[in-house]
Symmetry: C2
Subunit: 256 residues, 2 copies
């Protein structure tokens, strides 16, 4: 069975992993965010599946999707608790083992020191042959193996990880990127103007990546589009909207 | 391959049909509403799939899901335009034809008279052997065939149709229902207190079904739960919350 996208079209599927979505406790928003991000990158999202935290279910769905589409993006199940089994399931789907990744372990030792317990170390495990997906928000990175990208389920963290997926996708689209940096204001203060600008430009990707470093906090707002004119106009519009909302320390910076 | 729910558990899957979900233009909320509704009715939602408006994709997904789970609920693709192909796809999946349902046609003739055009008549088509699912909100009904229920994609209409699905589900759960009726206030006025009460009682199903008849308008708020004590307390809480929000014409009524 071929890809439904046809010749020359790059295709993808999303696999949402988590009982909390199927029980109705949590409203998924990752599918829409991924769909829009892929659209900007010229990749067609062709299918999505939501499965429970059951290894065989994850393995079967992942193997069906990765055989059929150019890329698969999974969300959820990469935390420290017993029901976070995505890494195990991805390793099983690829028929490989899991190993602690030295870079994640080093990050964790630096972050946790003596408090690096067994539960946290679970999050250092990556399928053999996999490589890391940067996490600019908080917590350990995601990973990629074959044509599969494994991201967090928490929407803010998932969006941050996505920024490291786009550059690895094979697609005809040249995606331009510009970054607006806000210092001294948290996401709560900037959320309303940000959302207004994002809604006014549905074909553009706009992500917010907060930072807390060296006593400084704020957020990098990454705008991506294939249309350089719209991108430039939206950068100006965003800065104006933030200033109109009383956010003073706002400026465009080189990409983070 | 058996049902993943195990002995005695009644299982279901959701099939979301629509390009607008996979392009990211529309945020799906039906999955969460259906999940919560099924939970109250003692049915386990085991999987969800989202597919585009492509007949072969819908047929393949529907046949996979209806073979594996006790029930499948589909949303979307039952409107009057060319990309509304759910009825065609369901008929193809069951290997039957489509026919205009006399009850829908009668409703439409009464509603539209001379304006009943070809596009609208498309919505009267039901797979041979199917029966109707009541639509208490607006527009034509949904339908059911075999173990599949075919509902609208518009969230408010979908929720209204769901009320006619629950009583047809085989499950061990006895679900109690009470109805609070608001007259002279639209959904915009009651949305905030309604949401607050719904959030405070995640295990209870709370649907709002607006009516516009004989110059009167308002909404029937249907509460469902397996816990009669919580149900009674929530009815009282909801009436109090609505009155506190300035909604005066509120009372409990016999089930609509």
């Amino acid at each position: 069975m071929g890809s439904p996208g046809g010749d020359g079209v790059v295709t993808a599927a999303v696999l949402i992993i988590g009982d909390e979505i199927l029980s109705g406790r949590t409203q998924d928003t990752n599918l829409r965010d991924i769909a829009r991000y892929l659209g900007v990158h010229g990749v067609d999202l062709c299918e999505a599946r939501t499965v429970p935290d059951i290894q065989d279910e994850i393995v079967d769905a992942l193997n069906a999707l990765r055989a059929r589409y150019d890329y698969v993006i999974t969300t959820g199940g990469i935390g420290p608790t017993h029901d976070d089994i995505t890494a195990d399931a991805v390793a099983a789907a690829f028929g490989v083992g899991l190993e602690e990744h030295p870079d994640i372990l080093a990050m964790m030792q630096s972050r946790w020191g003596d408090q690096l317990n067994v539960a946290r170390r679970r999050m250092a495990r990556v399928p053999v042959g996999g490589s890391l997906v940067n996490n600019p928000v908080q917590g350990p990175p995601g990973f990629t193996i074959g044509n599969v990208f494994v991201l967090a389920g928490v929407p803010q963290i998932m969006r941050g990880m996505l920024e490291d997926v786009g550059p690895r996708l094979r697609s005809g689209a040249v995606v331009l990127s510009r970054t607006v940096r806000v210092e001294g204001s948290g996401e709560g203060a900037i959320a309303a103007p940000l959302e207004a600008v994002a809604r006014a430009h549905p074909d553009l990707s706009l992500g917010s990546y907060p930072f807390f470093t060296e006593g400084l906090y704020g957020s990098n707002l990454v705008l991506r589009s294939r249309d350089g004119v719209e991108l430039a106009a939206t950068v100006a519009e965003l800065i104006a909207a933030l200033r109109a909302a009383g956010i003073e320390n706002v400026r465009e910076v080189e990409a983070a």
